[in-house]
Every structure is written in structure tokens, then in C-alpha cells.
């Protein structure tokens, strides 16, 4: 049982702990969406409350081509390789997914380099600059 003199002290400590929890949760909640605007993750809208954003409604087409050890190149049928839902994320230029997918293609030892291209039209129909990403498979081996 706490004495009358320690009770307010305990209450103050509890209150301080609660306030720190509140502040931490609020800072996290402000920092997460804010980080979208202050960092360069333009295509990664997670945790930023950008529902119905223009980015999501762009009309995009993705192409992945790989260079083989014998010098030839071939296109990848992404829909036959992984679940089609991943193709939608590749179209949205989700960086982590692109990186993981290019690495996956490099797991085939015949492949020496993988090139990713994404062509999009904005919601007003205007063509946007083509976005490209490449991975030299030597880096991953």
C-alpha cells in the first residue's frame, strides 16, 4: 500500500509514462506519411494515406527482358512466372518488389543481366517518361 505522500508521485510517474506513449505514437503517425513527401519514395505510397492517388490510377505497362550468357536476350512472361498481383505492384513501381523480382530472375544461372521497363500514361492520358531499372546478375552471385 502506498503512503499518501508516494501516491501523487506514482500518479505523476504513470501520467509521464502515458504522455510519452502518446507522444511516441503521434510522432510515428506524423512521421510515416510525412516521410513520403520529404524522402524520395515517390512510388511507394504505403503508410502515407494516399488513397485514390493519381499514381495508383496511372495506366502502366511493364516489360522485363533478360540477357543470357550466350548473348541472346528474351522477354519474361511475368504472369506465368509469379502471381499476377505482383505484376500490378511492378506496374506501380514498388521499389522493393522490383528489386526482389530482378534478383529472382538472376537466380537462373543462364541470365547475366535483367532489364525492367515501365511505361505509363498519366490520368489525363499524357505519356510519362519511361522508367527503367537494370540488374547485373554478377552483383547478386
Amino acid at each position: 500500500m502506498s503512503s499518501p505522500s508516494t501516491a501523487p508521485h506514482t500518479h505523476a510517474r504513470t501520467r509521464r509514462r502515458e504522455n510519452l506513449t502518446i507522444a511516441a505514437i503521434l510522432v510515428f503517425q506524423i512521421a510515416m506519411p510525412l516521410s513520403y513527401y520529404v524522402t524520395r519514395r515517390a512510388y511507394d505510397e504505403r503508410f502515407s494515406w494516399r488513397m485514390f492517388s493519381t499514381l495508383r490510377l496511372r495506366d502502366c505497362k511493364v516489360e522485363v527482358r533478360e540477357q543470357l550468357a550466350n548473348g541472346r536476350t528474351r522477354g519474361v512472361n511475368i504472369e506465368r512466372d509469379v502471381h499476377v498481383a505482383w505484376l500490378r505492384l511492378l506496374e506501380r513501381m514498388r521499389s522493393a518488389v522490383i528489386d526482389a523480382y530482378l534478383e529472382r530472375r538472376c537466380e537462373n544461372h543462364e541470365v547475366t543481366r535483367v532489364d525492367f521497363t515501365c511505361r505509363c500514361n498519366d490520368t489525363d492520358g499524357r505519356a510519362l517518361p519511361t522508367m527503367e531499372r537494370s540488374l547485373s546478375c554478377e552483383v547478386t552471385r
Binding site: 501520467r15 502515458e18 504522455n19 506513449t21 502518446i22 505514437i25 503521434l26 503517425q29 506524423i30 506519411p33 513527401y37 505510397e45 504505403r46 503508410f47 502515407s48 494515406w49 494516399r50 488513397m51 485514390f52 492517388s53 493519381t54 490510377l57 504472369e79 506465368r80 512466372d81 509469379v82 502471381h83 499476377v84 498481383a85 505482383w86 505492384l89 514498388r94 522493393a96 518488389v97 526482389a100 523480382y101 529472382r104 498519366d122 490520368t123 489525363d124
Partner: protein
């Protein structure tokens, strides 16, 4: 600091937090069972996955359909048990972890409202504990509720900021959203008759969403203070923001957006936070009367003996096993076994309220089966799975999935022609 303390540690109507906990937890359970499971077939396909957080990617095994379904079933069971028992910190904490894990295990689930539900659950951990329905005018305090109000205010603010973009403000984005052009066509005609050109209409309609969302954000921000001797203007403003919030989310539903139950979650929040106290009292009475009667019945029961407790646990384990069998989904046995083990563990450690917990879990298990059986979620699961397997050239597995799905096919949606096509491809006897 005084203002901070008044806001986060001030009084509010206990019924608001109580009502919201019950309704929200039931919604989460039904959402996981009736909506999310349908897409489980995507998980683990071709051994490819990217988790939301790199630490999960490194530490956890590749999520499979069974893994994902088990997590969702368990999440729903915990959620409904918490709703029936009255939410407690450990149970809501466990639910928050399970739910967050269900979406964060893979970027296949990139719905922002699932992240939002996790934040709501995090705030609910700090809700006041209520094992009985509060009195009509009872006030309570606890920072979870005002923190949730602040969380929603932030969500609306950032959503409004996201729309401050030329493509949105010029109306191009809104036009491309689902069925916006079709649903808003009569308004376009009306606007044209009033001399407003079509592009101007879309621009005005889009741009107007920004101040609306900001007004709602302020409403939520103020709502936590409306019960504690708030000035009239504050209560009036909060009630006004209720009207615009409801209009906004009903409008979003009318546009048939593919956002799951997000609008309904937001409507439940609006009813809890933005309605005047008296309206919440009436709503709460109507919604929690049956639950209150059951809780009273359970509370009045005598302290049970060990035998009674263990008999209850055995019966509930039986109900869980029966549900798992009837569900016919991968991962169902795992989820039900984990739930049963959890109950036995709890009963061994704490026999006093193990019967209540067991009964709540038993009811949740039966409702889980019922919720899945009355919806088309199993049909969705098997047909999506079959479609993906066929697309990737795995005809035999696709046929198995389609055949299983036929058991749950709604009238007129049979995949018999696909089944026959696959049987022909595989040189099997073609079904009549």
C-alpha cells in the same frame, strides 16, 4: 501541458468507447473471415514474396495460403472473443499483433485501410477496460480514445494533402476512379444545364473533397472534448462534421471503389466520435442489449470447479475442431488447434474466468464457420487459385482447385466449362 492533459486525459462518455469496441471488433472478425481469405491463394505462389518490412522478410518463412488463412482465422477468433468478453489489454494487444502480421507478411496486401485498422487496434489497447455496459451518462477517461480521435484527424489531414495535386484538382483522377463517370452522370448533366462545363464540373467535384476532408479532420480533432462541458459551438461543429463524414463515405461507396470495408469502418467511427452523446446512448442501447444480457448471465454464474472448466474447454475444443473440418480451407486446422491450445493454457493458469473465455471462443468458432459458409469467400479462394494456376500452366493443380471450388459456387457462376477444358487438356475423362 494543461491543454494536452485536458485533451488526452479528459473525460468522455464511456458508452462511446464501449460501443465502438464492440462494433469494431465484430467488424474486424467478419472482415478477416468474409473478405480477406478470398485472396489467400496469392500467397507463396512460385516461392516469391516481398514482406512490408525487411525484418519480416529475413526472419519469417515464406508465407503460404495455409499460413495466411490460419493467421486470418485466428485473428478473427481473437477479435470476436474480445468483442464478446469485453476488450482487455492483453487480448487487444494480441489482436493488434496478429492483424498487423496478417497484412505485413506480404506486399500482396497493400490496402492502406489494413494499416489503419492496426493503428485503431493500437489505440484500443489503451481504451478503458469495460466488462459491463456503462451507465447512460457515465464519463470515463483513458488516453486511447482521444488518441484515436487524433489518429483519425491525422488520417483525414494527410488524405486531403495527397489530393493537392494538379491531376486530382483538374478532375482527371476522379474520372478514372471505378464508376465515378457513370454514378455522377446525372450531376454532370445538371451542371451543364447550369452552364458549368464538364471539365469544370470534374475539377470542382474533385477539389471540393479537399476542404471536406479537412473539415472532417477538425471535427475528429475536437470530438474527444465534446462530452466534457464543451461549448455549444464545438458540439455543433462536431455534429456538422458527422453529416459531411457520412455523406463523403456514402458517396465513396456509391462510386463502388474497391476498398473493402473501409467506408464502413469510417462510418462506425463517425457514429462513435461525431454523433452527439444522446444519439450514441440510443444507438448503444439498441446494439448492445443482447450482448449485455449474455454478459449479465455469465457474470452471475458461480465460481466454477476445475472439472466444469475443463469440460467447457473440451466442448469448445470440439466446436473448434468441427469448425476447422467444415471450413474446408488450408490452415483451418492450424488456426483452430492454436486457439484450442491457447484456451487450455489459459484455463490451466486461470480457472476463474476460463469458462467465460471458453464460451466466448466457442461462440466465435461457430460464428466463424457461419460467416464463411454464408458468404462466397471459399468460392473466391478456389476460383482465384484455379485461375492463377491455369495462367501459370499448372493445369492439374488448377483442375483440383476448380473442382473444389464447385462445391461453393453460387448459382450461375459454375466453372464447369473451364473444368471440362482442363480435363480435355489433361486427357482425363470429361465430366458431364
Amino acid at each position: 501541458m494543461k491543454r494536452w492533459n485536458e485533451y488526452f486525459h479528459g473525460d468522455y462518455l464511456a458508452l462511446r468507447a464501449f460501443l465502438f469496441s464492440k462494433v469494431f471488433l465484430c467488424m474486424v472478425a467478419l472482415d478477416t473471415w468474409m473478405l480477406m481469405i478470398g485472396h489467400a491463394g496469392r500467397y507463396g505462389v512460385a516461392g516469391f514474396n516481398v514482406a512490408h518490412f525487411s525484418i519480416l522478410q529475413r526472419l519469417l518463412p515464406l508465407p503460404t495460403a495455409a499460413h495466411y488463412v490460419a493467421t486470418l482465422l485466428l485473428t478473427g477468433l481473437v477479435s470476436l472473443t474480445a468483442a464478446l468478453l469485453g476488450p482487455s489489454k492483453p487480448l487487444i494487444g494480441l489482436l493488434c499483433v496478429l492483424y498487423t502480421y496478417s497484412w505485413s507478411m506480404s506486399m500482396l496486401d497493400s490496402y492502406q485501410h489494413h494499416y489503419f485498422v492496426s493503428l485503431v487496434l493500437l489505440c484500443m489497447v489503451f481504451f478503458p477496460r469495460a466488462t459491463r455496459a456503462p451507465e447512460r451518462n457515465e464519463l470515463t477517461s483513458g488516453f486511447g480514445y482521444p488518441l484515436l480521435a487524433a489518429t483519425i484527424a491525422l488520417l483525414y489531414t494527410f488524405t486531403a494533402i495527397a489530393k493537392m495535386d494538379p491531376q486530382w484538382c483538374n478532375g482527371f483522377t476522379l474520372r478514372r476512379i471505378s464508376s465515378a463517370q457513370e454514378v455522377l452522370a446525372p450531376l454532370v448533366v445538371l451542371a451543364t444545364q447550369l452552364g458549368i462545363s464538364e471539365p469544370s464540373f470534374w475539377s470542382i467535384a474533385s477539389t471540393s473533397v479537399i476542404p471536406i476532408e479537412l473539415l472532417i479532420a477538425v471535427g475528429y480533432g475536437l470530438s474527444a472534448r465534446q462530452d466534457a462541458a464543451a461549448p455549444r459551438w464545438l458540439r455543433f461543429y462536431v455534429a456538422f462534421s458527422f453529416v459531411i463524414a457520412v455523406a463523403l463515405h456514402l458517396g465513396a461507396e456509391a462510386l463502388r471503389l474497391e476498398i473493402g470495408w473501409f467506408s464502413y469502418y469510417m462510418l462506425a467511427l463517425a457514429c462513435t466520435f461525431l454523433l452527439p452523446g444522446r444519439a450514441v446512448q440510443v444507438l448503444s442501447l439498441a446494439l448492445t442489449l443482447p450482448a449485455g444480457a449474455i454478459a449479465k448471465l455469465l457474470a452471475e454464474s458461480k465460481v466454477p470447479s476445475r472439472t466444469e472448466t475443463f469440460l467447457t474447454c473440451a466442448a469448445v475444443s470440439g466446436a473448434l475442431a468441427a469448425s476447422a473440418f467444415l471450413l474446408d480451407l488450408p490452415g483451418a486446422y492450424t488456426a483452430c488447434a492454436v486457439a484450442a491450445l491457447g484456451l487450455w493454457g489459459y484455463a490451466l493458469a486461470n480457472t476463474e474466468d476460463a469458462i467465460q473465455t471458453g464460451l466466448a471462443l466457442g461462440v466465435a468458432a461457430v460464428l466463424m464457420w457461419a460467416a464463411i459458409a454464408v458468404t462466397e469467400v471459399r468460392w473466391d479462394y478456389y476460383r482465384y487459385l484455379g485461375g492463377d494456376l491455369q495462367r501459370r500452366g499448372e493445369s492439374r493443380e488448377a483442375l483440383t482447385a476448380y473442382l473444389k471450388g464447385e462445391r461453393y459456387a453460387p448459382k450461375g457462376s459454375s466453372r464447369k466449362s473451364k473444368i471440362r477444358q482442363l480435363q480435355r487438356e489433361l486427357g482425363l475423362k470429361v465430366a458431364p
